[in-house]
Symmetry: C2
Subunit: 240 residues, 2 copies
């Protein structure tokens, strides 16, 4: 892991850009060492997502958590994948035409999960070696299928806050039954880009004994401010 | 309103039993006058429900709210209704036999709502005259159909926290569309006595722009402790 930039934000949070091999990432710490770590999931495109990510990271830091994120395969400044770009275009076309999307969701999401999850795990390896970071860790955000796979295969992830805002291959519902860590699922009830019934079915499928669904009104980016506080309280219960 | 008993609880909360005509009720205040009022809904049977009601009232008082409840028609020490008792027995029998319940739910719930809602409104009239109580008021709890009707007809109810744990007549879904106050709906995902799909449909039907659904694992009485805090924060946002 190479630190490529350092910036002290006005609230005292230290923001470090880093690369892990070819993967760019950002780490936010607040100086109260050692802190539990929250991995911030997102749909790809660190630059575009930065304002929302830094806001979430500041919220984490205010509660005494470190936060980190990495770029997804095929997004931002990472090499594009022609297959993923094709699948994404195909998904948009099918959604617009009202056609079934299961096959294209498989084609888009399964390779992404297979490629991204080892990268997030390698990021955990690197970050947990820093003296200012301490386990356990949590995962917060979309892509929900990445959070789901991490929850199953990565024992250092102790709790996950998942945004039900992207498609999940039907074949991953069996994996969902293997999830046992505490889950906090956010669903935007009127999310135009989301399948509400699929999100409810997925929530039902998770094997966790402690799982909570918070559904709010509004579209994809309309998550109410108070859900940030709820998320912090969820992680405070499970990462401390 | 006649005060029939006064008890100072160990945390300083003043508990007063009262009667409003023939209706017994309980008022909890914490001395920080004047406080917004939260009406505590319940399925009937003040004596049986007392431990849970007083716990909820203490939680309200700790946040600076007054809390009050009254006995439901036909419950506790109030005169029984043969029609309601018949309907309740019929409902149990049909549920056990896996038969449709819509007709019997209408027969049980609609008269209860028609009778109970004016009683809750009269209770509001009486309590809002006390110097230690101040508007606005909230409604928290089951029976969800009573909370729904109150939210439509009673302008002094500014926010409602509803337990999706009882049956709602299909004819009241039209009323649900008329609800505009902020709503916080609790759903026990595995509630054996509840119809999950009906609860989700009802949540969808509510006309409120701010509505949040919190679904948790477990049965009817298994609402997690942290939802009490969430409820208080909801009322703090809307009654202050």
């Amino acid at each position: 892991m190479n630190v490529t930039s350092e910036l002290r934000l006005d609230d005292g949070v230290l923001e470090r850009g880093f690369t892990l091999g070819e993967i760019p990432g950002i780490l936010w710490t607040s100086g109260h060492a050692p802190a539990p770590l929250i991995l911030l999931g997102h749909p790809g495109g660190l630059h575009t997502m930065y304002p929302r990510l830094v806001a979430r990271a500041r919220g984490c830091a205010a509660e005494g958590f470190a936060a980190a994120t990495i770029e997804l395969p095929g997004s931002g400044e990472r090499p594009r994948s022609a297959a993923a770009d094709d699948a994404r275009a195909d998904l948009r076309r099918r959604l617009a035409a009202g056609e079934p999307v299961d096959e294209v969701v498989d084609r888009l999401v399964l390779p992404l999960v297979d490629e991204a999850v080892p990268e997030w795990r390698a990021t955990l390896d690197a970050l947990l070696r820093l003296p200012e970071i301490d386990g356990p860790a949590g995962y917060a955000g979309g892509v929900i299928a990445i959070g789901l796979r991490l929850a199953v295969v990565e024992p250092r992830i102790s709790a996950a806050l998942l945004f039900a805002g992207s498609f999940v291959p039907r074949s991953m519902f069996e994996e969902a039954r293997q999830v046992t860590i505490p889950l906090h699922v956010l669903l935007q009830w009127d999310d135009e880009g989301n399948d509400r019934q699929l999100a409810l079915d997925l929530f039902d499928a998770f094997g966790s004994r402690e799982k909570t669904l918070h559904a709010n009104m509004g579209g994809h980016t309309g998550v109410p401010h108070f859900e940030g506080e709820n998320g912090n309280r969820f992680f405070a219960r499970h990462l401390r």
